[in-house]
């Protein structure tokens, strides 16, 4: 049994990290996620983890590289501009196959932007962000409870596949308070024979690198990564469906907008409009096949992707739907959270236009 608490998303995530066996946190404060480092700083005396406020996000992500490379369970958290600064390091971490948990509590951009919630970093999270062909496992929580659950899951998947895992949250989920069930702490027993811990006489030296100067070697490394990504696509797709069985209109939404869209489904059903919600939980790997299957149903008239950005996940939904049905988009930007009513109105407009 866990412990029931009323907590802020960022603090719940920090507490979950401790309970999941966090050994080191390296980060740099940035709104709207500074509660994570503040919480860890306050709790530090009770635990054994290392906490270091780095001089920049650039430094923090490289401390993650070093600490995780030394075999520790490590995490950093940041928000959009900070995550942009980390991208070079993420690319190196992905290539050197170093497991770690990264968290982006997204705020509105581009640029310095706003400190209000946004989903404008979807492309950066799932399409790369850093240079080269790599992926992170990307999880999109839509509640404080999932900030906790995805922390455990993220650490686990990162270790399992030796890759960076990212929680793509947003300023609203990070800041809001909800009831959470915190799991009991789990002892962390790492099995990382590849880690650079000092070379005993009975093994070859361990080297963590992303440098393969010969093209043939670099291609070979890429093929290894791509094999791994295929496995992840096969095994780690996660999603949630709400009233999609008979749905004529399917909302696609992740994170915060998936919760708002659930309300839209209910509003529609009250008026006899059969709306359903498809919610990708793993944003990479993206639930392509599941959306494709829904798109092939006769009852489905159209999809609408609801996001807090200018239309990013909608591109993946279109790829999955592959022309079988129209795919529309509704979004707000700049840190504005759409209301159920405005989403519902947008849907009604599309129904009217289709008739």
């Amino acid at each position: 049994m866990g412990e029931i608490k009323f907590m802020k998303g960022n603090e719940a995530l920090a507490e979950a990290a401790i309970r999941a066996g966090l050994q080191a946190y390296f980060g740099y404060p940035i709104t709207p996620q500074s509660e994570v480092i503040e919480y860890l700083a306050k709790e530090e005396p009770k635990h054994t983890y290392t906490l270091l406020q780095a001089e920049s996000e650039v430094s923090a992500i490289n401390m993650i590289y070093g600490g995780a490379g030394a075999g520790a369970r490590v995490m950093t958290t940041t928000s959009s501009p900070g995550f942009s600064l980390m991208q070079e390091g993420v690319s190196y971490i992905a290539c050197a196959e170093i497991p770690c948990l990264l968290v982006n509590v997204v705020r509105g951009g581009p640029g310095l932007g706003t400190i209000q919630p946004s989903q404008g970093d979807y492309f950066q999270a799932v399409k790369g962000g850093g240079h080269g062909d790599y992926h992170m496992i990307v999880l999109g929580p839509n509640s404080v409870q999932e900030m906790v659950d995805h922390t455990f899951l993220g650490f686990e998947l990162a270790d399992k596949y030796r890759c960076p895992a990212l929680i793509l949250s947003d300023g609203a989920i990070g800041q809001m308070m909800e009831k959470v069930v915190l799991p009991e702490p789990v002892p962390y027993k790492p099995n990382k024979p590849w880690a650079t811990t000092g070379k005993p006489p009975d093994r070859e030296r361990n080297i963590l690198t992303s440098l393969y100067i010969q093209s043939e070697e670099m291609e070979k490394k890429n093929l290894i990564l791509q094999e791994k990504y295929k496995k992840i696509v096969k095994n780690e797709v996660r999603f949630e469906e709400y009233q999609t069985d008979d749905a004529e209109i399917v909302i696609a939404a992740f994170g915060l907008t998936s919760r708002i869209s659930k309300k839209v489904v209910d509003l529609g059903r009250e008026e006899g409009i059969k709306i359903g919600l498809f919610r990708p939980i793993s944003l990479w790997p993206f639930p392509m096949n599941q959306i494709a299957e829904i798109a092939s149903r006769d009852c489905v008239k159209f999809f609408i992707s609801v996001e807090m950005n200018a239309g990013q996940m909608v591109e993946d939904v279109r790829l999955a739907v592959s022309g079988k049905k129209p795919v529309y988009f509704y979004g707000r930007m700049g840190g504005i959270i759409p209301t159920p009513a405005e989403i519902f109105n947008a849907i009604k407009e599309h129904i009217k236009n289709q008739e």
Partner: protein, 251 residues
């Protein structure tokens, strides 16, 4: 060993028996050897973790038989910080060039030193970007010609060459700073002693240790190895004097 022969010199066992990519006359190979000799003599191969930079020594892990991490350009000090904090009983060193440590990685260098991170910097200052073909470094001397300062470094434009040993010795938690060279056998012995001291102080937990090697680059300087030694004596040492800048108080 043949009868009648006496072994007076051999490759340190922690230096791998492989062909190096360094140019003829370059000090990197000498410094690698000195570093590995120190590790052998201290018996710390099993406890050592190194970080190599981006620059000519990017392949240092091909030659050093210790666990190593390859850093992004400039980030070795951040990586070393985390490794040492995770594994405080290991000996951690970062091996970095001047572009890495004193240009793109200045923030990481300065803040690691300010925190007194308990690892050793081995800083190779050859006043030029060797790997990318001889561009100006933050440590290129005034008037020195490089491919990006073809008329000589102009301090009005580029500022004067940065003096890292002098800078980092100001930090309270930096325990030991020495600038050495390998232009003579005597200086190579001093360089080795400095590396050893830096590791010993690290083991004692005294704080950051920093060994700067006033190094050379015959290829980048467009001269012979011998001429590079003269340039060191005539031009480099007057600006970058050798010696101890900071050391722990004697007991």
């Amino acid at each position: 060993m043949k009868e009648g022969y006496k072994l007076i010199y051999k490759r340190p066992k922690t230096l791998l028996d492989t062909r190096m990519h360094y140019c003829p006359g370059c000090f990197h190979s000498t410094i690698h050897k000195l570093l590995m000799e120190v590790i052998d003599e201290m018996g710390i191969q099993e406890k050592t973790v190194g970080i190599c930079p981006v620059g000519c020594s990017v392949f240092a892990y091909d030659y050093m038989d210790v666990d190593m991490q390859e850093a992004a350009h400039g980030r070795a000090a951040a990586i070393a910080t985390a490794i040492k904090r995770m594994l405080p009983d290991r000996i951690v060193f970062s091996y970095q060039g001047d572009g890495d440590l004193a240009a793109i990685g200045t923030a990481e260098t300065i803040h690691a030193c300010n925190r007194g991170e308990n690892f050793s910097f081995i800083f190779i200052n050859n006043g030029i970007y060797g790997m990318t073909g001889g561009q100006m470094a933050p440590t290129t001397l005034e008037g020195q010609k490089t491919t990006t300062s073809p008329y000589g470094r102009d301090p009005e434009k580029a500022g004067p060459p940065i003096k890292m040993s002098e800078i980092v010795s100001q930090f309270e938690r930096v325990a030991y700073v020495e600038r050495v060279s390998c232009n003579t056998p005597a200086n190579s012995r001093k360089a080795k002693r400095a590396i050893r001291r830096s590791f010993e102080y690290q083991i004692q937990g005294l704080g950051t240790t920093f060994v700067e090697v006033a190094s050379n680059c015959p290829s980048g300087w467009k001269c012979t190895p011998e001429e590079s030694l003269n340039w060191l004596k005539e031009r480099v040492f007057p600006y970058y004097p050798l010696g101890v800048f900071k050391e722990p108080p004697k007991k």
